[in-house]
Amino acid sequence: MRAFAQNALSAMTKNPSTEIPQGRLALIFSAPALLILAVTVLVPLAYAIYLSFHRYNLKRAKRPFAGFRNYEKILTDDKFWDSLATSFIFAVSAVAVITVVSFFLALLLDQDYPGRGLLRALLLIPWAIPDVVNALLWKWLLHPAFGVMNALFQMGGLIDDYVAWLSSMPSAIIWVIIAYSWKNIPLATLLILAGLQTIPKTLHEAAELEGASAWKRTLYITLPLLRPTLTVVLIFETIFALKVFDLIYVLTSGGPGKSTTVLGWSIYINTFKKLDFGTGSALAMILGLITLFIAIVFYAFLDRGEKQ
C-alpha cells in the first residue's frame, strides 16, 4: 500500500503531463488540516471579535453594535485591573516555581543512575491527569475537615486545628499555585530534559578537566546553552498560567472575596453567569492580546540571545 502511494506520488510529481507545482501540492495536502483549523479556531476567533464589538447579552432581545464600548467599560473598571494584577501574580509565581523546580528535576533526571527510567515515567503522572480531576484531587487534599494536608501538618505539629486553606488569603492563592505547578512541572521538565540532552557532554568534560565546579558548569555551560529551551518553557508556561480557569473554578470560585479572581474566571463569570457574551468576548480578546504581547517579548529576547 505504501509502495503504491509512493509510486503514485512520484508519478504525480515527475510525469510532466500530470505535474503539479510544489506549492500547490503542499496546499492540497495541507488543506484538510487548514480546513479543520479554520473551522475550529479561526471562525470562533472571528466570531468572538465580532461579539466583542456588540452589546450581546443572551437575556436581551436586542444586540446592537457597540463599537469599543465593551472595551472602554472593561478598561475603566477597577475590577478588571484587580483581576489582571491577580493573573500576573499567579502567572509570575507559578512560572517561577515551575521553571526552577523543573530545571533541577531535569538536571536530576539527566544523570545516569539505576531507576532513572522509572522516575521519568512517574514524572508523567500529574501531567496525564485531566485538569479538573487534578483540581478535585487538591480540593480533597485540602479539605477543611477531612483533608490529608491538614492531617499531615497536624501530625507534624505545624498546626493545632484543621485549617480552611482555601477560605483565607494568602493561603488560598498559594495552594492554587502549588496545585497548578504540580500539574504543569512534568511538561516543563520534559522540555528542559530534551534541551539538556542536546548539550554535548564534551563541553562539561572539558570544563571539569579545567577544574570548573558543578555550579560553575551549570552557570556557564548549561544555562546559556539551554536559553532557547528555557525561553520556550517560559512562553508556554506563561501563556498557560495566564489562561488558568479550571483550578479556580473548582478550588476557590475566585474567592475568598475576589482575591483569586483571575482574568479567566472573569471571562467565565461575564460570559456564562451573566450571559454577557459581548463583555466576555472583549475580555477574552484583551487576554489574548496580553499573551500575544508576552510571547513577542520572549521571542525578541530569544532572538537577541541567538544573535549575540
Binding site: 477543611p144 475537615a145 486545628d161 477560605s167 488569603m169 470560585s253 475568598p256 479572581t261 453567569k273
Partner: protein, 425 residues
C-alpha cells in the same frame, strides 16, 4: 469544481445529521440530573399510562441556567423543563416558557396548592407550571453534641447561637461548631444572608424593589457583622466561605459541625444511617431570630414548565403526571419524591397522607417544619430578569465584607449596581 465538492460534502452532512435531529419521541423533558434513573422510571410509567413516549436529557446542575439559556437562544428546544423560581421571571419574560392559563384542570391543581407556592410559580399574574418540589430552609443542630456541651435547648436568637457555639468551642467539643454556606455561587452566600438577615428583621429590597440592604443599621448589615464576628472569633468555621449546599452536609454527617442551615429535604440524608454518622442526632428547630424578628427563612419551589415550542397538549399531560396526578388520580410522582427522597411537596392532600407523614417524621419534625414555613420571607426581587447579573457581583462583595473589608463602600456600590441594572433593563 471546489464548489461542487463543498456542496456534496454539505449535503452529506445534512443527510447524516437529519435523522439524528428528527423528533422520535412525543415529549422531551430536560432538567438537572437529580436521580436520573428514578426520573426515567417515572417516564416509563407515564408512557404506559398515556401511550406517549418521553425522554429525559439532563444538563449539569451548576451549569443548568447557562445551558438552558444558550439552548433557548440558539433555537434548540425541549417540551417540558425544570425551572427554579429564581429564573422563572427571566424565562417567562423572554417567552421561552408559557403560562398554564386555560389548560384543562389547572384550577383544580391550584385549589390543592398554598397561595405562597402559587405566587412563587407566577409571573405577571399567570402561573407557569406545577411544582416539582418545594419547601423551606431550616436550622439544624446536633442534639448529641448539644447534650455533651450541657445545652438543653436549641438557640432562639442569633446571639444565643453565638454563645452556644462559644460554649462548645470552650469545652473542646468542637473547634468550630457552626458551618454555613457562604461560597460564591447561586445556592450559597446570598441565601444564607437572606435567612440570617430575616432573623435580624432585615431584608435586601423593599416592596418597590429599591435596595435597602445598604442603609445604616439594616438587618443585612447586622447579619454580615454577626457572620464576620463568628469567623474572626472562630465559632463559625472559616471553611464556610468555600462551602456550598451539598458540602455542608459532610460536616454535619461526620459530626464536625453542630449547627447549620440547610434546605428541609437535606435532613433525610443527615438522618440516614447509611449516609450519616450522626443519623438520629440531627434535629430541626426554628431558624434563630432576634429582638426584631422571631425567625426567618426562605422558601423555594422548583417547577415543571412547558416551553413555547412544545406541543402544548402532550406537554401538559407530562407536566400533570410529574407535578400533579397520574392516570389513577393520585399525586404519584410528588409522593414518590417525598417518600423515597424526602423532597418537599406542596399539594394539600399529601400533608394528610399517612404514608408521607410517617415517612418524614422519621427524619424531620413535621410540625416545626410547618411552623417554619410561616416565617418565609417574600423574595419578589429574585423574579426580575437582572437579579442574576446583580447577585453574581454581590457574592464576592459580601465575602469581602465578611473578610473585614469596608462594608459601607461595598454595600453602596452594590446598591448602585442594582439601580443601574434596573434602569438598563
Amino acid at each position: 469544481m471546489m464548489k461542487k465538492w463543498l456542496t456534496i460534502a454539505a449535503l452529506a452532512l445534512v443527510g447524516w445529521a437529519a435523522p439524528m435531529s428528527a423528533q422520535d419521541t412525543d415529549v422531551e423533558l430536560t432538567g438537572w440530573p437529580y436521580q436520573v434513573d428514578v426520573v426515567r422510571e417515572n417516564l416509563e410509567r407515564f408512557t404506559s399510562q398515556s401511550g406517549l413516549s418521553a425522554t429525559y436529557n439532563p444538563f449539569p446542575s451548576n451549569e443548568y441556567h447557562t445551558k438552558m439559556v444558550s439552548s433557548f437562544a440558539s433555537g434548540t428546544n425541549f417540551d417540558v423543563v425544570y425551572v427554579r423560581d429564581s429564573f422563572l421571571a427571566e424565562w417567562a419574560a423572554a417567552g421561552w416558557i408559557i403560562p398554564l392559563t386555560g389548560l384543562p384542570g389547572v384550577d383544580d391543581y391550584m385549589a390543592d396548592l398554598p397561595q405562597g407556592i402559587i405566587e412563587q410559580m407566577s409571573f405577571e399574574g399567570e402561573v407557569y407550571g406545577l411544582p416539582y418540589y418545594s419547601g423551606n430552609s431550616v436550622f439544624v443542630y446536633n442534639d448529641r453534641l448539644m447534650k455533651q456541651a450541657g445545652i438543653s435547648s436549641p438557640p432562639k436568637t442569633w446571639n444565643d447561637l453565638r454563645s452556644q457555639a462559644q460554649t462548645m468551642k470552650d469545652k473542646g467539643i468542637l473547634p468550630k461548631p457552626v458551618v454555613i454556606g457562604l461560597a460564591a455561587n447561586e445556592n450559597s452566600i446570598l441565601r444564607t444572608l437572606e435567612i440570617v438577615s430575616a432573623g435580624f428583621g432585615g431584608k435586601f429590597f423593599n416592596d418597590k424593589l429599591e435596595p435597602v440592604f445598604q442603609e445604616p443599621n439594616s438587618g443585612v448589615r447586622k447579619a454580615l457583622a454577626w457572620i464576620a464576628d463568628g469567623i474572626k472569633s472562630g465559632w463559625i468555621n472559616e471553611a464556610s466561605l468555600n462551602q456550598g449546599d451539598g458540602e455542608i452536609d459532610q460536616f454535619m454527617r461526620s459530626g464536625t459541625a453542630a449547627f447549620t442551615l440547610v434546605t428541609d429535604y437535606e435532613m433525610k440524608v443527615l438522618n440516614d444511617s447509611e449516609q450519616s454518622n450522626e443519623a438520629g442526632n440531627i434535629k430541626n428547630a426554628l431558624v434563630p431570630g432576634s429582638a426584631d424578628a422571631t425567625s426567618g427563612t426562605i422558601g423555594y419551589v422548583r417547577l415543571y414548565s412547558i416551553t413555547s415550542e412544545a406541543d402544548k397538549e402532550k406537554a401538559w399531560k407530562l407536566v400533570q403526571f410529574l407535578g400533579g396526578k397520574d392516570a389513577t388520580g393520585a399525586y404519584y410522582v410528588p409522593k414518590r419524591w417525598a417518600l423515597e427522597f424526602g423532597l418537599g411537596f406542596s399539594p394539600a392532600p399529601l400533608y394528610k397522607d399517612a404514608d408521607v407523614r410517617n415517612s418524614i417524621s422519621g427524619w424531620i419534625d413535621p410540625d416545626l417544619l410547618q411552623e417554619q414555613a410561616k416565617y418565609a420571607i417574600n423574595r419578589g426581587y429574585r423574579f426580575v430578569p437582572y437579579f442574576s447579573d446583580w447577585e453574581t457581583e454581590a457574592w464576592g462583595g459580601f465575602q469581602e465584607i465578611i473578610g473585614g473589608a469596608d462594608a459601607d463602600s461595598i454595600l453602596e456600590e452594590l446598591a448602585e449596581n442594582w439601580n443601574e441594572l434596573q434602569s438598563e433593563y
